[in-house]
Amino acid sequence: MTWLELSVQVDNEAVESVSELLARYGYNGGVVAEPAWIPGDEGPEFSYDPNRPVTLRTYIPLDPQAEDVRQRLEQALWHFNQIRPLGPLQARHLEEEDWANAWKQHYSIMRVGQRTVIVPSWLEYSPTPDDVVIALDPGMAFGTGLHPTTQLCLRLLERYAQPGLRTLDLGTGSGILAIAAAKLGAGPVLAIDNDPVAAQVAAENVRINQIDHVVTAGTGSLGAGQHMGHWLSGDFGEEHSADASTPPTTPQFNLIAANLIAKVLVILANDLAAALVPGGILISSGIIDTKEADVVTAFEAAGLRQLERHVEGEWLALVHTR
């Protein structure tokens, strides 16, 4: 897919009003501002430079209407320019591949926990005998191994993924946790995601790791989660949460990894508990510190007992059993 990037340089005081204008035309109302900054004395410190111009950008899909949108924006900026001087409106074409793959050149081999090594599928790696190697191409799915929530889960899986455990990875994204569980010996592993793009990426990563016989990847969810849309859509399907048509979840998993978000964990608390066999282990993450209490309360009400709590930055992972 091709996009049209529209950008304009403005002085500091015009940032807000020109952003408002760009947001009216840009895709998803999104605007990017790249303010000039001055590095501080300490590494990560910085301050803004109010005397240098700020570049503002917005994006529109390059379709037959794009030129019309560009012209309307140019006209709006012309009127604006009568009050306050602006730079000219610049336009350039941008291919999705340009940015969708740009991060790949910086994605490198990474060690997480004691034994897990994440290897981008396009790189070579010679493992030591103890290494648990996960070959991965996360594409546009969540789960590169870089995010604190993924790292917390991977460390916990090193402890809890044992041979013979029936495992569920709910919201699998790139498939990283399911693959880690399988490589650590657990199985059979079911890796599901309600985002079909993620389910496809996960299936491909399972294939790259040659564990198709242990891990089944596909589109799906659990209980109330079957009524949810993609988590990006903000559709949590609450109106269905008490729907009697949802098939009852039966206890079948010894180990569940659910790296979701707090709100979804709360909605799924009962289903997660019901899917777990007595004595089974639930690893949950994606929980931001301010929402910890919501998840803890919901899990308790669902009859789960907390065993562990781990923190990294603002993110938490919890371990429960029933």
Binding site: W3, S17, E20, N28, G234
Partner: protein, 141 residues
């Protein structure tokens, strides 16, 4: 050794509804940070403010890690709400979109002060009055 800062990017996005599509993808992809990592973090932090635009400041470090800081709503948004105007004027040099009082201006300046390059609330007021003018919103006593 402290990690090095490589970029500071501000994004205006609808709360809880960021996607990897533009503007997020192109704005962040070029710095080598994982786009879905950001999207998940932004949506989780803003989900309670759905329906508003929540700007965010992303600081990106040399090791590809990043920090996400939510900012106050855009002044343009606050001005529009205060004026009861659905949008700013497309021709601010000719037509007005609405009006606000000095007291409303001060209130917005106070709310925005933490994120502004202004020394005090008077300085912030001046900047926001400029924004109002360029949106075609009049300030009345």
């Amino acid at each position: 050794m402290a990690k090095k800062l490589v970029a500071v990017v501000k994004l205006q996005l609808p709360a809880g509804k960021a996607t990897p599509a533009p503007p997020v993808g192109p704005a962040l992809g070029q710095y080598g940070i994982n786009i879905m990592g950001f999207v998940k973090e932004y949506n989780e932090k803003t989900s309670s403010q759905a329906g508003s635009i929540v700007p965010v400041e992303i600081t990106i470090y040399s090791d590809r890690s990043f920090q996400v800081k939510l900012l106050t709503p855009p002044a343009a948004d606050l001005l529009r709400k205060a004026a009861g105007a659905p949008k700013g004027s497309g021709t601010p040099n000719r037509t007005t979109a609405g009006q606000i009082t000095r007291a409303q201006l001060r209130q917005i300046a106070q709310q925005k002060l933490p994120d502004m390059n202004a020394l005090d609330v008077e300085g912030a007021e001046k900047i926001i009055a400029g924004t109002a003018r360029s949106m075609g919103i009049k300030i009345v006593d």
